[in-house]
Assembly symmetry: C2
Homo-oligomer: 332 residues x 2
């Protein structure tokens, strides 16, 4: 009788396990999906030799090209360009000087050819010189209205469903998920909770300094200053992670040369580590660029051949959008 009961219980447990919902339903079976499942299993199962205590479960995600579409240009740069007419309306004399003149012309080719120092002028004029609250309000307003020209949807819908599943799955297993982006920290914080379930304090990004000051009623506020405090790209990513988190990530996800150092830093720690790179090889459903198209490391978000070689050498797992992702967007 006891043996029968035990057999029944075992059968029930196995059936329950078999019926447990797939935590990554938008992923096809394959090496990438298996790497994620194995990593979580190994680091969160009590008694596992690779068990990681909960406070040390940190996973970092690049944003542009890793969590959402970065082609043909970064959404935040679209924001900056869209803000230029507002600036010009307030200060009409700007319309006569570069780079605002070119931006106002609407000539996309000319805009794409603007030299770096002119681009910096656009970023400075549209991202600094106002209070944190004003900036947040402007970004919120833009996010509610702006649409990507290809999909005709808000930019925040162009997030990758499979990656959101990974974040959710990691969080369900005690990991804290951080965004570590070359994009603006204050920009991403406006929507990170709503879109990714990531609170503002878990967004590490490029940051302008702020200046604590007082308004005319003597009320204190923080002014966004035209001074770059943290350039959260390439080596700036592990540096930003140390500054803001103070722990080495256990898992890191990226897609470009800007993420190389973050993955190296993650991989240099002891014990189980997971490093993954999203390869954009799906021109039909999204875009194909980087090694998938044989491009050099000059294009935005490119995944250069050298990084491909490094991935092989370091045991980083490449995620093929084309073959690993069943669905790309939640509206697919």
């Amino acid at each position: 009788m006891l043996r029968l009961l035990a057999t029944c219980l075992l059968a029930w447990a196995l059936a329950a396990a078999a019926q447990a919902p797939d935590p990554l339903p938008s992923w096809n079976d394959g090496a990438a999906k298996k790497a994620i499942l194995d990593f979580v299993q190994a680091t969160t199962t009590t008694g596992s030799p690779q068990f990681v205590p909960a406070p040390e479960r940190i996973a970092t995600f690049d944003q542009d090209g890793t969590l959402w579409v970065e082609q043909p240009i970064y959404s935040q740069f679209v924001y900056c360009l869209d803000r230029v007419p507002v600036l010009v309306k307030a200060k009409p004399e700007l319309a006569k000087v570069e780079p605002f003149k070119t931006v106002m012309s609407g000539d996309r080719e000319a805009i794409a050819k603007l030299p770096m120092e002119q681009l910096v002028k656009i970023l400075t004029a549209t991202l600094t010189g106002m209070s944190v609250e004003q900036f947040t309000a402007e970004v919120k307003d833009w996010l509610a209205k702006a649409k990507d020209p290809r999909w005709k949807r808000p930019y925040t819908e162009l997030t990758y469903l499979p990656m959101k599943e990974v974040m959710e799955y990691l969080r369900a297993n005690g990991y804290r998920t951080y965004i570590v982006t070359g994009g603006g920290q204050d920009f991403v914080r406006v929507y990170s909770q709503r879109v990714y379930g990531i609170p503002p304090e878990q967004v590490v990004g490029s940051a302008a300094a702020t200046k604590f000051t007082y308004d005319k009623d003597d009320k204190p506020f923080l002014m966004k200053e035209p001074k770059l405090l943290l350039n959260d790209d390439k080596a700036g990513k592990p540096e930003g992670i140390h500054l803001m988190i103070g722990r080495r990530p256990r898992a890191a996800f990226g897609n470009s040369a800007g993420d190389r150092e973050m993955l190296e830093y993650t991989g240099a720690g002891d014990g189980a580590r997971l490093m993954m790179l999203v390869l954009h090889d799906d021109a039909q459903r999204e875009y194909a660029y980087g090694p998938a198209r044989g491009l050099p490391d000059t294009k935005v978000g490119a995944f250069p051949p050298a990084l491909d070689a490094e991935a092989k050498k370091n045991g980083w797992t490449v995620i093929s959008m084309k073959s690993d992702w069943k669905r790309i967007f939640s509206f697919d």
Copy 2:
């Protein structure tokens, strides 16, 4: 019968409430203790007009003079002075040049008179120029051995029990507690979890830049650079809070002019806010300085008369060590 049951239940509930352990047993009854209890009650009771959603429950604490003893000199500066002989042993030529010569002389009066640029040389030599891991190991080693000359105990025991109770009480009510210190972020992170129950990612402090680089075996690491990235004092506190947390605190605790802007920033938000200042007026059990002794704003950790006036104007609550704290240290 039902009425009897209801009466019994009510009596039981009241008795249970009356018997609930005091969350702040080291505090005497008074305005300060009441301010803390009222604030937590108002912001965490469902249906309260001042209810604060859990994600927004952020409380920030200055460290030196607010969480632990800062007299006669900051413990971290004692660390720096204690490291000088080690540096000199490695580089004997340093013994002949200032400020190391004076430090090696052991002449406390002469050390106290070193000008700022010489002090910066001591900080730079002892806090930078090594990997993050090496620095952490050195601080751990020092903390295990160093003792405060007055109490003959490790510095980490010179933490204020009543403030630890406040942090514990806030955390039990869904608040996340952060240290926001003018002291070194990497220094405080070494012991913040053990001593205060605060994890490294919740320590905001003055920070040197780090540089991502590679050792001779091509293994990446972060080098602490002689470049101040964040001066987390005065206006630098709200600026650091925005950078690292991205939310305005609901409660802030300090003790000196270095905390003024943090308290102002906290108080400038909507809804219930709690701002408190620890007044060192207990020369017998700890120290008396600042307005308690009528000192000007020149002494380390002073609570200047102007801040006292501002506290009154802004409704900040002053904590008197002498009358509000039943016990000061856990070894009392």
